[in-house]
Amino acid sequence: MNDVHNEKGTNKSLSLFFKSSFIVSAVIILISSILLYFTFTFDIVPPILNRGIQPATFPKALLILIIALTLLTYFISLKNPWKNEKKLPNSFYITLFSFVVFITVSKFLDFFLGIALLSIIVSYFWGERRFAYLIIVSIIFPLIVFVFFETILGLRFPPGIITNIYYG
């Protein structure tokens, strides 16, 4: 009986680590701690040139404040738990993946192609199956935006396989 009780207790304490409040707080504290570490690598101004406080002091104070407030939020969440969020659907991960596709394609192939690919992925996986609409969203509209920015705003887009053809 005792074993069962202990097992239940263990599960309860383990489940604390899987609560969103714990995970979010841990991520914030971890990132803040890493950034806090970096503040110690900032150059130090010699006292004779220093006006007021050192450049690292203000970010350090902010990061300590963020860590302290996050801990406070976490302890409050033990009493008033955060609402349980629904599991994220596949469409979210596909959209996130399309961002990665955009970054990769725009960096190594072409900026315009990156936008076109993202648009077609998002539109298709969000439910659009009509070919004409997919073409409008992925090619015609980005082309209009591209030409608008290029001609009216005088913007020069980064070179790429399609952009180079446009610029001749």
Binding site: V24, I28, L35, F38, T39, F42, D43, V45, L49, R51, G52, I53, P55, F58, P59, L62, L63, L65, I66, L69, T70, T73, I76, W82, K83, E85, K86, P89, S91, F92, I94, T95, L96, F99, F102, I103, S106, K107, F111, I115, L118, S119, V122, S123, W126, G127, E128, Y133, V137, S138, F141, P142, V145, F149, I152, L153, L155, R156, F157, P158
Partner: protein
Amino acid sequence: MENLGLIFAPLFSYKLLIVLFFGTIFGLILGVLPGLGPTTGGALILPFTMTLDPLSAIVLLTAIYCAGTYGGAITAILINTPGTPAAAATCLDGYPLAQKGEAGRALGMATVSSVIGGIASVIVLIFFAPLLANLAYEFGQPEYFALAIFGLTMLASIGEGSPIKNLIAGAFGILISTVGKDFMTSIDRFTFGINELTEGIGFIPVVVGLFAISEMLTQSTLINQIFNRVALKAVKLPSIDDYKKTWKTIIRSSGIGSFIGVLPAEGGTVASLIGYAEAKRWSKKPEDFGKGSIEGIAGAEAANNAATGGAMVPTLALGIPGSATTAVILTGLIIHGVRPGPDLFREQPEFLYGIFGSMLIANILFFVLGFFGAKIFARITLVPNKLLWPMIFAVSVCGTYSLNQSIIDVWLMLLFGVIGFFMRRYGFSVVPVIIGLILGELVEGTLRQSLVIFDGNWLMFLQRPIALTFFVLSLIALSFPLIKRKKKNDKV
């Protein structure tokens, strides 16, 4: 006051009238589309404003602000989904009234009360902003530091999210402002050897990322959502009986909205909720609220539009944003090289009064466009998200890239989009991040300069009466949500 005549200047400038017209139409479209709204729309349009002169750019943004705030009511009434957060309270009575077959009457009341609230708030802005700016002449560095701290502590009581989470988000925003070369010593901070970061992180990638891209990710989780749409035949002006029932509510809510708007970091959402609650409290028929009360619509709509002018008061007079959208407008002012504050009132009155006049005209324009075009604008909600959001992405990416022609800015925009999505998912509002980012430089700069003046003695802050007043107000702002929560717990 001798500059009051300048208010009518926009009427004689065809260029400003065209900008106002397009700004109002664009604002209505943005307001109608759930998930967009004037804040995200303003962020999207910011890069385009670089082609305009500063006055036209700010007039465009303020027209979007006024019309977008009203536009949210159209969707709230017809599909029970607020086009903007500020229209959330309008759903409570607008949709039930529309379901009873009175969508036109509900929209008519929303339009009239929005216009009255909007115009009342511009009058508050015209008279109150110069007074506040005059007061700011007394401010030195320590006072500005205390004021910025007060602005930040007001984040604790901002409408959505827990007070502590809002403060964390605000601190995060200030932290972003520290990236790049330290302005006093030119020492690199958080640049990680990336040259593009030495100039700091720009406003546009953060604003577009946190609002537009994070919303796109949010919409990706809602693609199966179905809206129940109520048909709209025509918008009707409220009857004499409706006016008799609601005129006191409209006046009260206009006052509440203007006052709430003036408070730093508050805005239309808080104003509409309080306006609605007060309308119910003073009503002879509180039992009708939530079932299609015309007073409920008037209370919420007059208040949220009244907050627009109110929120512009601290934005223009002190450079402290009064709401999320005014934070975007303030960003627009900064990227156009205009620094809000008392000097702006003294040196560029035609600029300021041009904004005031434009806001008045925008309110009249959205009345006309809303009245005759609500049926058409309502149809915009038929554009499916699967087509709309990829298009918004294309505009966001090109707009963000256009400012510095930097691909790093585009990547930062995406990064902040992802951060914004998770922040919102776990109850952190993204608005404090923007306000923190805007106020960050002011907070750090004034703190360090004050310490130079005080020779490093922190206690000297307490010897400045204005600064001390702001610190006391900050303490009150911080403790207010705790008192509110305790009262709520005691009630339970």
